[in-house]
């Protein structure tokens, strides 16, 4: 187990180098002047552009630029944005917000999705099963930005139950955006666990457990669920990674000051240092999440071993 983890961690090094390099190259290779729009609607004066090019080492060859960036990064220095702010500070300020949002979404997704999946999986072809199937189909076919705007319009503006945007990112305030963010994945989780449950329901070990005279609750809760959740866990794990990086739309609609908005704005304003920094962190998070998921397999299913 320990060796496996170590090997996986070592594998992250080339992945980390490759992704940061690609992102770095792409960010500065976007056509157009990287300092466009920094000076309002007029072109920036030459001395400003020179000073900025110097700050971001843009006059060096690409590989040298990247090496300098990486050198600083390894020492924990993410660099400065064009507005003179520490990239690391911005990541530290926005990451917890997005993490909160992602966790809310994950809880929503897991609790509702798995419950719906189990209920409908156990009652094949009943009314509840059809209800789950139809409602998840409905959720899957609506893009998140539509759900977001509709929720904002109906509950925020017409009914006035919620504030249309998040005023301060507390868990309570993030519940509605969390629901919106989770809506699509929730439907997938429900369908995944439904399929898994209804398949495993007829498995030999379930029959054995029932024959032993175990109560239904224990059969479903321990034997059936534990074996059926492996694909769901994979999905949830990668989804948490996706939530952390992909909440751009939801964060934009509800004005959540998180990582998604930060990345989006930095891409628009061509803030290369910021984009590379944030995406690097996201890549690391994603890698760690997949590792965690893989380790969870072994916990759920003792047949899976890593040595």
């Amino acid at each position: 187990m320990g060796r496996y983890v170590l090997r996986r961690l070592l594998q992250m090094v080339p992945v980390f180098l490759g992704t940061t390099f690609l992102i770095y190259v792409m960010v500065w290779a976007v056509p157009g002047d990287p300092f466009e729009g920094k000076c309002g609607e007029r072109d920036c004066p030459e001395s400003y552009v020179s000073a900025m090019r110097e700050r971001f080492n843009l006059d060096d060859p690409l590989l040298v630029q990247y090496a300098k960036y990486l050198g600083n990064l390894v020492q924990g220095d993410f660099g400065l944005t064009s507005s003179g702010l520490q990239v690391a500070d911005r990541i530290a300020a926005t990451f917890p917000v997005t993490l909160k949002l992602a966790l809310v979404a994950l809880v929503v997704e897991a609790v509702i999705g798995i419950t719906a999946g189990v209920v409908s999986g156990l009652r094949n072809r009943g009314f509840l099963d059809s209800l789950v199937l139809v409602s998840t189909l409905f959720l899957i076919s609506i893009p998140v930005f539509v759900t977001g705007y509709v929720v904002q319009l109906v509950f925020g503006l017409q009914l006035g139950w919620i504030s249309p945007t998040v005023t301060s990112p507390t868990i309570g305030n993030l519940i509605v955006p969390g629901f919106v963010l989770a809506s699509l994945s929730m439907a997938y989780v429900a369908r995944l666990s439904r399929a898994s449950i209804s398949e495993n329901r007829r498995a030999d070990y379930v029959r054995t457990a029932l024959a032993k005279g175990l109560p239904q609750r224990r059969v479903v809760g321990v034997h059936l669920l534990r074996n059926s959740l492996i694909p769901v866990i994979t999905f949830l794990g990668t989804d948490l990674g996706a939530f952390l990086g992909g909440a751009i739309v939801t964060e934009g609609i509800f004005n959540v000051p998180g990582v998604g908005g930060l990345v989006f704005r930095s891409i628009l304003t061509k803030d290369g240092a910021m984009v590379t920094g944030v995406v690097t962190v996201l890549v690391l998070v994603y890698l760690l999440m997949t590792l965690l998921v893989d380790l969870l397999y072994a916990v759920l299913d003792p047949r899976i071993r890593y040595d």
Binding site: P31, G32, D33, E36, G37, K38, C39, G40, E41, R42, D43, C44, P45, E46, S47, Y48, V49, S50, A51, M52, R53, D59, S82, S83, G84, L85, D89, R90, A93, T94, Q152, L153, G156, L157, Q158, G160, S163, P164, T165, T167, E251, G252, I253, F254, N255, V256, P257, G261, L262, F264, R265, T269, K270
Partner: protein, 541 residues
């Protein structure tokens, strides 16, 4: 229908925080200790006036600083603010007297030196500020800001200046200084209302980093706190000596990820002001039903034109340019596409400018199919006409309409060619690589008739990217620059505009109304001509 959650809480905090601070001359029924929240975008540069020309930063710095002159919100005219008087006899040497008793927010006095030091710092080349070029008319600018021999992208660096101060600025005592320009420039006093000309306190020169984190100005508001990416809080500076004292206490500039989410907050009265509504609210005039009498509208200082690439035939053909201009039905397009939020232009100078004269463009800017066809026949051109524009700013609809108008009137193939991003589009414009005529917009740097002519049409001027050149026009501009007084200058600039008109160097299309919105709480909130909230007029119920 909706609840305003944030706002009452903020008011409560403000009232508690205000403690025993007494309100003075309260307008009847207004809450002079109120707190308001307005829309902002994240500042893209450090908060130093000389280094911020972009709107998100300007909106923060504008209330923090008061310059020598400020622009009046009604008509954009400069009025003395910190300046007691600005005098000149030859439009080359200006004597500036500043008012006494003003202080920065840290209590230090504002003196002539505060201005001169700030200007020298901003103009100094190695500081790489955004506002440096605004000082280029001052004598000695070339010495402190030497040109980069091979442009900003080249490997060579600009030589380090030998002097740090412009020879054209001289402090003559605590409250007086003189400005000497390298060439006479009659509208110079108008230009200095721009924020980059703001004074800076001693504290800035001692510790720039600390200043950027917590700017110290001399304006009606002082800095309280900043949560990067979330908001910036300002509060009224009670020792402010200017006339534009605010009638409320706390100002929060809230950063929004998108105008759309800000609009939702505005409709729900969670946000007090947004100066420009998002496209989804403007479409089909949705804002009228959402906001009712909370809509704030104002003609602002921007103009849309079609620029002509003089380096590319057939667009260097004057008859063709006239034909195209007369073939565009401005009235119909402004009504149908913009639903009246644009006003057809009849010249190159914005109607809000002092000295504006209507109809300077004459017949060439009026829709006239007969004359358009006549002129088109005279041009001898029969090929395709291309109109280029970026589409990320909502330009596609009108550009297509203009192309169709030309096509239908002249009976020639006219096509709109989209370009995806503004950055890419501007790069081609600057590199003179346009393949057809193209969209151009101009927002005044400073409210003077000169700013609508010189930077755009003078030979070799900074924003003359179509490469138009007319010696008679240049000569008239030079004459106007040297005029001893404002009235004479305006007359000469108007003459210059008339000289240029038959050439149609660009095709004026329309000027713009900006549509914003306010919350129920604000009794009065007006836009100024620069598309910002006029804080002086704000009254909270």
């Amino acid at each position: 229908m909706s609840r305003a959650r944030l706002v009452p809480a903020a008011v409560a905090v403000a009232v508690v925080a205000a403690g025993c601070g007494g309100a003075e001359e309260a307008p009847a029924g207004s809450n002079t200790d109120a707190a308001i929240t307005i829309f902002n975008t994240e500042p893209e540069n450090p908060l130093v006036p000389g280094n911020t020309t972009e709107v998100g930063g300007s909106r923060v710095l504008d209330p923090l600083f008061t310059g020598l002159v400020e622009y009046r919100a009604e008509d954009a005219q400069p009025v003395n603010a910190m300046a007691e008087s600005i005098e000149t006899t030859d439009s080359k040497v200006f004597t500036v007297k500043i008012k006494q008793g003003w202080t920065f927010h840290d209590g230090t006095p504002v003196t002539a030196k505060s201005f001169v030091d700030a200007w020298n710092w901003t103009a100094y080349g190695p500081n790489g500020t955004q506002g440096a070029s605004f000082f280029s008319q001052i004598e000695g600018y070339d010495e402190v800001h030497p040109k980069d021999p091979d442009g900003a992208d080249g490997p060579q660096e600009a030589p380090t200046p030998t002097v740090q101060e412009m020879s054209g600025l001289k402090v003559d005592g605590d409250h007086q200084f003189t400005i000497t320009l390298s060439e006479p420039f009659s509208v110079f006093p108008v230009t200095i209302g721009y924020e980059v000309f703001a004074p800076l306190p001693e504290a800035f020169f001692k510790d720039r980093k600390a200043f950027e984190d917590s700017p110290i100005g001399n304006g009606p508001f002082k800095f309280v706190s900043r949560a990067v990416g979330t908001d910036i809080k300002l509060t009224r500076y009670d020792d402010y000596k200017g006339d534009d004292k605010p009638k409320f206490k706390d100002l929060t500039l809230k950063v929004y990820q998108s105008r759309e989410s800000a609009y939702a907050d505005l409709v729900a009265n969670n946000l007090d002001f947004i100066e420009e509504l998002p496209p989804n609210a403007l479409a089909g005039k949705k804002y009228e039903t959402d906001l009712g009498d909370r809509v704030v509208q104002r003609e602002t200082l921007n103009m849309q034109t079609i620029a002509m690439p003089f380096y590319l035939p057939p667009y260097d053909n004057v008859d063709l340019r006239r034909a195209i201009s007369m073939a565009i039905n401005r009235e119909e397009i402004t009504q149908r596409i913009f639903e009246g939020t644009r006003k057809p232009a009849d010249g190159w100078v914005h109607p809000l400018m002092k000295g504006y004269q209507p109809g300077q463009c004459g017949d060439y800017c009026a829709f006239n199919p007969e004359k358009a066809k006549e002129s088109f026949a005279k041009s001898g051109y029969t090929g395709e006409i291309l109109l280029l524009s970026n589409t990320d700013g909502g330009h596609q609809e009108w550009a297509e309409a203009v192309a169709n108008s030309i096509k239908n009137t002249l009976g020639v193939e006219a096509r709109f060619v989209p370009s995806t991003s503004f950055g890419e589009f501007r790069q081609k414009v600057n590199a003179h690589e346009m393949t057809g005529m193209y969209r151009a917009g101009w927002i005044a740097d400073y409210p003077s008739i000169e700013n609508w002519l010189t930077p755009l049409y003078r030979t070799g001027a900074s924003s003359n990217d179509g490469l138009y050149s007319n010696p008679a026009f240049d000569a008239k501009l030079a004459e106007a620059d040297k005029a001893p007084g404002e009235e004479e200058a305006i007359g000469l600039y108007l003459e210059a505009e008339r000289i240029m008109a038959p050439d149609m160097p660009t095709i004026p299309l329309w000027t713009q109304f900006t549509i914003g919105g306010k919350s129920d709480r604000l009794k009065v909130a007006n836009l100024d001509p620069f598309r910002a909230l006029d804080l002086e007029t704000v009254e909270v119920a």
